[in-house]
């Protein structure tokens, strides 16, 4: 990738089921302070800000107007993306690579515990003419997708249960996780269906939290005091938004985003060249679908066999969601992708404590915007 860009600072709150004492502005302020300290910079040095948020999730119209004050972004260039935080990383990288600025901050947060009617927000995202009149819970879209994905790939419900078991168990080693639990695949198989064949335990529960990331140009990163983690590639893409004509089996948005990032990073064999993956697991089967789209398996069914045989556990060949993923850490709305990045930065800096992987040098984060969308992003990071 020309004009190298680095992550030089991260601040993130532990993800929590609820954050009753802090307003979203206070959460942002706290993590901005932490990120700027980590980066060894003052807020006044930051040249541009990107926040990622959705109005209806915030309960505020034109929410971008509410984000500058608590980041130090007043009277500075800033804008908001209605996307996951990984899109914000891509945005910041482009601003720096273009030579426009040298120091950019990306922020995303979740006050999911304040959203009293989350299903109605999702319902309002469903096509109003063709689909919404049916009056269904939008998570049913994931039930439909899981059913045909398993049918076409031969991946089994039991293999999907291994995803939940692995990620929630991984979260036990992560002090930032909201939903750690020692979980066996059998515990998942015994839990009730929510949207057949999707079980309640296979759906990530929402959590509150905030992540602030500081990105810098090559010169700026090398001149600073913090330990930089290099951005090797970024990619983002959508499939069709239309339920009638999208790809229901393959996560094409993820495949295209990965190809874009791999081109920049010079990655030809992701299974060999990348040592650690943090991917979207909003629903357990999604982790497997995304790993297939990332090009890890020549046959899709191998994704199911890999999780069941422990290949994607922290001590396996291809560790996936060592942090606990969204199933273990909690689904933090637009901040979900940035929690994946925070884990990779901790791992690549060798600061991941009890869950530190010994040999990880190149790592990948991937996000999906949730039902009913087909929007995804990929970021490849390295310690060198």
């Amino acid at each position: 990738m020309p004009n190298r860009v680095a992550i030089i600072g991260v601040g993130c709150t532990p993800a929590q089921p609820t954050t009753p004492y802090l307003s979203f502005k206070e959460l942002m302020f706290q993590e901005a302070e932490r990120a700027y300290l980590d980066a060894g910079i003052e807020a006044s040095e930051v040249e541009s800000f990107v926040t990622c948020a959705e109005d209806l999730n915030e309960g505020l119209s034109i929410f971008d107007e509410y984000t500058p004050d608590q980041l130090g972004a007043v009277q500075k260039p800033m804008h908001t993306l209605t996307q996951d935080g990984l899109h914000g990383i891509a945005d910041a990288v482009m601003q720096i690579q273009s030579g426009l600025v040298e120091l950019v901050v990306v922020e995303a947060h979740s006050k999911a515990s304040n959203i009293l009617t989350p299903e109605w927000i999702l319902d309002y995202a469903v096509d109003p003419v063709w689909n919404r009149p049916l009056g269904f819970n939008p998570h049913a879209i994931a039930g439909l997708e899981m059913n045909v994905f398993l049918h076409e790939t031969g991946i089994t419900p039991d293999q999907c249960a291994h995803v939940t078991a692995k990620n929630r168990t991984n979260a036990l080693r992560n002090p930032l996780a909201a939903y750690p639990a020692r979980t066996a695949p059998g515990d998942v198989a015994d839990s009730p269906y929510a949207f057949y064949p999707l079980r309640e335990t296979e759906m990530a529960r929402t959590a509150d939290g905030c992540v602030v990331v500081v990105l810098a140009s090559d010169d700026r990163a090398r001149a600073g005091k913090s330990q930089p983690v290099w951005v090797r590639g970024v990619g983002f893409a959508n499939d069709s938004s239309t339920l009638e004509s999208r790809d229901w089996i393959r996560a094409e948005y993820c495949r295209v985003a990965a190809q874009m990032a791999y081109r920049q990073a010079g990655i030809h064999n992701p299974g060999r060249d990348i040592h650690l993956f943090e991917v979207d697991d909003t629903y357990a089967y999604k982790e497997l679908q995304h790993l297939v789209a990332l090009g890890l398996y020549s046959r899709p069914g191998d994704a199911g066999r890999a999780v069941a045989s422990g290949v994607t556990k922290p001590n396996g060949e291809t560790p996936v969601n060592v942090s606990g993923g969204a199933l273990g850490m909690g689904l933090t709305l637009e901040a979900t992708g940035l929690y994946r990045v925070a884990e990779l930065v901790a791992q690549l800096r060798k600061q991941a404590g009890a869950r530190q992987l010994p040999h990880a040098k190149v790592a990948l984060a991937q996000s999906w915007r949730g039902v009913p969308t087909t929007s995804g992003a990929v970021v490849v990071l390295s310690s060198e």
Binding site: G59, H139, E244
Partner: protein
């Protein structure tokens, strides 16, 4: 500032009476008129990539062509996927799960999402099954996707 000693936290409730209109569009008009007046399912075919879009639409998302060739397709097809939803739109548990189907009509390239009727349990259904569309009687049709009652196993 310190965290307050008492455990009570203040929150304010908020709600807005949000209402909108949605334009069905040229493609939607064609589809709903045919459905309401004739009980027919109309799509459009792309001359360049041969995709048949149901419901009818005026542009091809694959080759970005304008679509003008209308086709009437038979109300029968194959079950591409199904789910049984145990929760309603308000996240409340349902006493009887709602069955939804994703169906590829025989002459269409796209799928249609609708109710799967007369089934109560996943064991009664399998992907790949043949299904028939049930359309409401003319007197009850209003020009809506709900003029279709759903699909039944053939």
């Amino acid at each position: 500032m310190k965290t307050p000693k008492n455990t009570e936290t203040r929150t304010w409730p908020g709600a807005i009476p949000l209402e909108s209109l949605y334009t069905a569009g040229l493609g939607g008009q064609v589809f709903f008129k045919a459905l309401k007046e004739r009980g027919e399912i109309v799509g459009t075919r792309c001359a360049s990539c041969k995709q048949v879009y149901v419901p009818a639409r005026v542009f091809c998302e694959r080759c970005f062509a304008e679509l003008s060739e209308q086709v009437t397709v038979r109300p029968q097809g194959t079950l591409v996927s199904f789910t049984f939803s145990n929760f309603n739109r308000d996240a409340q548990p349902l006493a009887r799960p709602q069955a939804l189907a994703l169906v590829r009509l025989d002459e269409a390239s796209t799928v249609l999402l609708h109710y799967l009727l007369k089934v109560t349990d996943p064991t009664q259904v399998s992907i790949g099954a043949q299904v028939k569309m049930v359309i409401k009687p003319k007197a009850k049709r209003t020009g809506s996707i709900l003029d279709i009652e759903g699909f039944v196993l053939a």
